[in-house]
């Protein structure tokens, strides 16, 4: 029987309360959101916090809203709500593509957007989704809030820009006209983590791609956004050759490891092929050829 090591438990009653607790308790404290990454790690004693601050009562962090320029998502929004959201499906179909294949429906009832991004597991899907969409993360502390890009948020495997006395509260995604996005994942069986995933987002200027982004999951560190992809997409006309070029860039810029999910060579092939597919579909959606 796996049981976490002893800790003290406290329920936060507001974002301010949660942050104040975090500031007082320091690095020995952790927030618990869905708990579906943290508790398994604590059971294996891979994480041993002395204090857990439960943020599930913070109703002010559960929302998906929209204004003229961006969509804002509260950090406690659960996978299930990201999957069901018509607002997200309409503006950013990449979310529904990804959420359909993240874990299973029961895990999706608990796991949250904030927990996924803060866990920063290299195989986790939503970092690639948010990076492809050029999202920004709102991080709060007692001294105020700062907004960081996904590139700055995602520092490395299991490492983010969120400090000991800080909390991720919101994700902001810019709304761009004539945009499209898509996610492609290959897994061993339903509900499993990715062997490889690729997400793409583009926005069009007439017949050419104004700009776009590609993010990968499960192929090593620092692949949530492949910087050189944007340069190749900017100003280019959509074509099969372009998708191949970008697929090749993605494959060249990742560092997959051979493990029980597949060989490094197979994963590199998937990074190329899934990037071709996600980009092709993102363009089809941006140009109204596909829903």
């Amino acid at each position: 029987m796996q049981v976490p090591a002893p800790f003290e438990y406290e329920r936060a009653t507001s974002v301010e309360h949660a942050i104040a607790l975090r500031e007082r308790l320091g690095e020995e404290a952790r927030f618990v959101a869905g708990g579906h990454s943290l508790l398994p790690m604590m059971k294996l004693r891979l994480a041993n916090p002395e204090y857990l601050i439960d943020i599930n009562d913070l109703s002010e962090l559960f929302y998906i809203s929209e204004d003229a320029n961006e969509v804002r998502i509260g950090a406690m929004t659960r996978h299930r709500d990201l999957l069901d959201s018509e607002l997200l499906a309409q503006h950013f179909p990449i979310f529904r593509d990804a959420e359909k294949v993240i874990a299973d429906p029961v895990v999706r009832n608990r796991g949250t957007l904030g927990g996924s991004l803060c866990q920063a597991d290299p195989s986790e899907d939503l970092s690639a989704v948010c990076a492809a969409l050029d999202a920004a993360c709102v991080i709060k502390s007692t001294s105020g809030e700062r907004v960081v890009s996904m590139a700055d948020f995602h520092v490395g495997p299991y490492e983010t820009a969120v400090g000991d006395a800080e909390m991720l509260t919101e994700i902001r995604i810019p709304l761009r006209p004539n945009s499209g996005s898509a996610y492609e994942k290959v897994e061993r069986r339903a509900g499993d983590w990715a062997i490889v995933s690729s997400g793409a987002a583009v926005w069009m200027d007439g017949d050419v791609i104004a700009n776009g982004r590609v993010g990968l999951a499960a192929v090593g560190p620092n692949t949530t956004s492949i910087e050189t992809v944007s340069a190749a997409l900017s100003g280019a006309a959509p074509s099969e050759e372009l998708y191949q070029t970008v697929g090749d860039i993605a494959a060249a810029n990742c560092s997959p490891q051979t493990d029980q999910r597949g060989t490094a060579a197979y994963k590199r092939h998937l990074a190329m092929e899934l990037t071709r597919r996600s980009l092709r579909r993102a363009v089809a959606r941006a140009t109204g050829q596909e829903a």
């Binding site: 029987m1 796996q2 049981v3 976490p4 090591a5 002893p6 800790f7 003290e8 438990y9 329920r11 618990v32 708990g35 579906h36 508790l39 398994p40 604590m42 059971k43 857990l52 439960d54 599930n56 874990a103 299973d104 429906p105 029961v106 895990v107 009832n109 608990r110 339903a190 509900g191």
Partner: protein
């Protein structure tokens, strides 16, 4: 610490250690051993209980986190000696062999039918896709859930006319 919650409609107030997982709290402290405990890694779904009506894996949830919420375990499906249609479906369509996965399967089925009274086979299969049955090959489980859906839609049609 003290934790208060409603389990199958009854208020419970218990002294727990914060690190106590919900599955062990339900089985060992409340003695409700209908909830099973298998993989311990949130993969198999035999430990599923409903929290405020939503299926959740109780091996990855702290009992403390369930405080203030409504918990339903498999023991709560039967009301006043009358089986839930989902339980009847599992009996009639041989939805179980060893019965290990059954409590989790039935609770997920109950939550599904509460939301979607007439689910297609694909929707049923998706709903139970986070749960593993070592015995049945799933076909009879899917049939059992269909049976329950049919019974419930017939009953509600009957009462409407």
């Amino acid at each position: 610490m003290q934790v208060n919650m409603t389990v199958n409609g009854q208020e419970v107030s218990e002294e727990i250690e914060p690190r106590h997982l919900l599955v062990h709290f339900i089985r060992d402290q409340l003695g409700l051993t209908g909830t099973h405990w298998g993989c311990d890694t949130s993969n198999c779904g035999t430990c599923v209980v409903l929290i405020d009506g939503e299926p959740v894996k109780s091996c990855s949830t702290l009992a403390a986190m369930a405080g203030g919420h409504q918990i339903t375990t498999v023991e709560g499906l039967e009301v006043d000696g009358e089986l839930d249609p989902v339980q009847e479906g599992f009996m009639n369509c041989h939805g179980l062999q060893c019965g290990f996965c059954t409590p989790g399967m039935m609770l997920t089925a109950r939550a599904l039918l509460n939301k979607n009274p007439d689910p297609s086979e694909a929707v049923i299969r998706e709903a139970i896709s986070g749960q593993i049955c070592r015995c049945t090959g799933y076909s009879t489980i899917v049939r059992s859930i269909h049976w329950a859906a049919n019974k419930e839609t017939k009953v509600s049609l009957g009462s409407a006319s």
